[in-house]
């Protein structure tokens, strides 16, 4: 089902890639390098672009930055560098299209930003060499570090622009999320730098020398992403226990977590804090598992405390247990302006949980449920958090007013 804007998008994309191909071929024809040498560079960049490593931020990062960096050091001429870089990307895009794997092959804006950085660094490098006769391994090392840093910042910046306005996450959140990928960038650029420094001197030994360390960290990152994912899955599975036992409405934990994390992203919380909050929201009702009989309706403060007790048995969930323990508390008490003891995470869970309960058990319309929360903003629900919930509901289309 391709709608018109979709088709337009595709057409523009194809045109841009065709332009890239044409410019690439034109630039390559001016190069003094042999055809097979150029082809090897294009192939290396295409392969690097097709390999992806799962990143801490939850995305997948292509290795093209590393290959580009090697190019900056080893390819002296700017037109040649630009040519092999663009042709490499065209090839990788074609291969990805043939595999019909859209997750591979870089997106245009990010790689163009990257190309700009590469050319900039190459220009500065050449200028330093001309003006000051600066050369040698330490200068190369400085070039590698600067190029890596610029690439990383530019990439994060482009990602921030690209994700702006999507899903209601704040700019701060997206920027912090992009910065979480620094370990991958460090190992990618350091390995590329190692290769670029060593290859002219030790020849092809540089391949195992630089690739094996990178491969080890690649495997580590892949394992880390997988382990993180399954940890989240496990928390999710445990959160369903009270629901399976008929002690909590089905889907309540997941819906509360979804609302809470959307609210937190919109508020610009740190990505790591958002994850902890999500776990706490998933587990906020786990205390119900201790209830003997589904007909009982125990005190909610007790439930929060029992839940925290259960979660505390898991050594890595101390903060999560704290959020769950607090989530039943009022955000202010009579005579106070605000209870600073009750953290923002607890307030978010309280609001998200109450909204979903009203909506799910009492079958209220979103507007109705929201009004119930509004009426109790004196003590129970922080008005700022309720306003955030309203924004999330509106963005998801559940609230039209």
């Amino acid at each position: 089902m391709s709608t018109l804007p979709n088709r337009l998008n595709r057409a523009v994309g194809i045109l841009l890639w065709a332009a890239g191909l044409a410019v690439g071929v034109m630039l390559a024809s001016t190069s003094t390098r042999s055809l097979s040498n150029l082809a090897a560079w294009v192939g290396a960049i295409a392969i690097a672009d097709l390999i992806r490593v799962p990143s801490p931020s939850g995305g997948r990062i292509s290795l093209v930055g590393g290959a580009g960096l090697v190019g900056v050091v080893l390819v002296e001429s700017i037109p040649t560098l630009a040519a092999v870089f663009m042709l490499g990307l065209v090839v990788s895009r074609l291969v990805a299209a043939l595999w019909s794997d859209d997750s591979r092959g870089s997106d245009l804006s990010r790689t163009l930003a990257g190309l700009g950085i590469l050319v900039l660094v190459e220009v500065v490098d050449a200028w330093m060499l001309e003006a000051f006769r600066w050369d040698g391994q330490w200068v190369e090392l400085a070039v590698i570090l600067i190029a890596g840093l610029l690439w990383f910042v530019a990439d994060a910046f482009v990602r921030m622009l690209g994700a702006f306005g999507l899903g209601g996450a704040s700019i701060r959140f997206i920027w912090l999320l992009a910065l979480e990928d620094w370990p991958i960038m460090v190992s990618l650029f350091a390995s590329a730098g190692l290769f670029a420094l060593a290859q002219p001197i030790i020849g092809w030994w540089a391949i195992p020398m630089a690739l094996v360390p990178y491969a080890i960290s690649h495997v580590s990152f892949t394992l880390l992403a997988g382990t993180r994912r399954t940890y989240g899955q496990m928390i999710r599975a445990l959160s369903k226990l009270p629901e399976v036992a008929g002690l909590s409405p089905e889907g309540h934990a997941a819906a509360t977590a979804m609302l809470a994390s959307n609210m937190a992203r919109g508020m610009g919380m740190r990505p790591d804090d958002v994850t902890q909050l999500e776990y706490a929201a998933l587990l906020h009702d786990i205390g119900r598992i201790t209830v003997e009989d589904p007909a009982d309706e125990p005190d909610t403060a007790d439930l929060a405390r029992w839940g925290a007790e259960i979660i505390r048995q898991a050594p890595y969930l101390e903060r999560v247990a704290g959020f769950v323990e607090q989530h039943d508390a009022p955000y202010r008490r009579p005579g106070e302006a605000d209870d600073a003891q009750v953290g923002i995470e607890a307030r978010i869970i309280k609001v998200a949980g109450a909204y979903d309960r009203a909506h799910r058990i009492h079958e209220m319309e979103p507007v109705e449920a929201l009004e119930v929360l509004h009426r109790r903003t004196a003590y129970d629900y922080d008005p700022a958090v309720v306003a955030r919930l309203r924004a999330v509901l509106r963005r998801s289309g559940r609230l039209t007013a």
């Binding site: 460090v186 060593a198 020398m209 080890i216 880390l224 997988g226 382990t227 496990m234 201790t290």
Partner: protein
């Protein structure tokens, strides 16, 4: 003086003395590398040693062995052995040793590290040319470093095991089965270390910061992985423990079944990830019960047909939920087969294969579960004695239980010397009467 203190003194004396003697010989016969790289490599060794993680997977060796090999190459033919043997001293004392004012661990550690590193350094010295290094020598040096790294790890592992066995009297430590699986990764790290050393000599010191950056980042990620894996199990275990605590009769059941399954599996040759799988499967084997209304679980006497099927339904529901957790999927299958009989009868979820015995892990779990059920007090009867429980397991071997698993469990339990169940015969008679009373009803 108790025997443990005496054996500690003996082991520390021998290890420390041997290391000192070796260093003295190397100090007089070879040249100490007085250069700034010695400090850098020593510091790096110390840092990575303190970040070391215990992991079961093969690939994940600590980069310390690589640092030793790189340093030995950089120090050159005359200083490789003594250089390698001295930088490892940076990693001998851990912050924990200082906090707890321990003397035994640092001395033994220093001793075994010096001896292992000296061997590795000597191999490198043999592989290095006498004059300046050339590109043509890279292959030979890398190969030597691979061999040196394997020897280093072998010496390291056997010296540590020897010390632990002597002092803590742990006879069941079997280092060599682990060593075999570690050889490829050790050789790889060694070859890499050799390559990096030659690169350093031929290209220059600008390679060092890049190198440490790659390894530090990779190692930190690996550390996070192993911490998260521990978190997985402890989160699961913690939840189950907390939930069990609400139900007096099954308290501790899961943990004991996990323990019995583990020692049986170990006795049957399970190692590493396969062993972890059995233990985690045992942890979750009863999680279905957590979602069953409490009134059913605590009910005295037999369940009605409806109640019984309700209980089974819940077990299936939980199995469905846990199946969504990728890493748990194989364990869920093992766990769901633990009520299957060896002759193919019984019941269970995805792990139950009608007419066929369930997988080996499920059979181990079945024995462990039955043993704990018999040796602990339940709502309908008192605990039986260990002898009675074992006799009962043997009686049902071949029909309900896998005979191999039963015998492996009995051997493993005997090796631990621990005892479970009621201590006296009077209790047992009473318990048997109670048990039979319930079975008749």
């Amino acid at each position: 003086m108790n025997p443990s203190t005496r054996s500690r003194g003996l082991v520390a004396g021998i290890y420390g003395g041997a290391a000192l003697a070796l260093l003295a010989v190397l100090g007089t016969q070879t040249t100490f590398p007085f250069r700034w790289e010695w400090l850098v490599f020593g510091a790096a060794f110390g840092v990575f040693q303190s970040l070391a993680v215990e992991v079961n997977d093969r690939l994940l060796a600590s980069p310390t062995v690589m640092i030793v090999m790189t340093a030995a190459v950089v120090f050159g033919r005359d200083s490789a052995a003594i250089g390698a043997a001295t930088i490892v001293l940076f990693g001998a004392v851990t912050p924990l040793d200082i906090r707890e004012r321990r003397w035994f661990q640092p001395v033994v550690n220093a001793g075994q590290l010096v001896l292992s590193a000296a061997i590795a350094g000597a191999v490198i010295a043999l592989a290095l040319p006498s004059g300046d290094l050339a590109t043509a020598d890279i292959g030979r040096v890398a190969l030597g470093a691979g061999v040196g790294a394997v020897l280093y790890s072998a010496a390291n592992l056997s010296l540590v095991t020897l010390a632990v066995r002597t002092v803590f009297r742990k006879r069941n430590l079997k280092p060599w089965s682990r060593m075999r699986s570690l050889v490829p990764s050790m050789a790889l790290m060694g070859i890499l270390g050799g390559l990096l050393g030659t690169t350093y000599l031929l290209v220059g010191p600008a390679t060092l910061p890049l190198l440490f950056a790659v390894f530090l980042v990779g190692h930190l990620a690996m550390r996070a992985v192993s911490q998260l894996r521990v978190a997985h199990e402890s989160t699961l275990g913690g939840f189950i423990k907390a939930l069990e605590a609400k139900d007096l009769y099954t308290k501790g059941h899961t943990e004991r079944v996990a323990y019995f399954s583990q020692i049986t599996a170990e006795e049957m040759g399970f190692r590493g990830d396969a062993l972890d799988r059995v233990r985690v499967a045992a942890l979750i084997h009863d999680i279905g019960k957590l979602a069953v209304p409490r009134t059913l679980i605590r009910k005295k006497g037999p369940l009605s047909q409806d109640e019984y099927s309700l209980m089974q339904d819940h077990a299936h529901l939980v199995e469905d939920i846990l199946h969504e957790v990728e890493f748990l999927a194989p364990m869920v299958e093992i766990a769901s087969g633990h009520h299957s009989r060896f002759d193919g009868g019984g019941y269970g979820g995805s792990g139950h294969r009608r007419g066929e015995p369930p997988v080996l892990e499920s059979r181990i779990l079945a024995v462990a579960d039955a043993f704990d059920a018999m040796t602990s007090t339940r709502s309908y009867r008192l605990a039986l004695t260990q002898e009675y429980a074992i006799a009962e397991l043997r009686r049902s071997a071949g029909s309900q239980f896998d005979p191999d698993c039963v015998e492996a469990f009995v051997r493993a339990l005997a090796a631990t010397g621990e005892r479970y169940g009621s201590p006296s015969l009077a209790d047992e008679t009473e318990a048997r009467q109670r048990a039979e009373g319930v079975y008749v009803a």
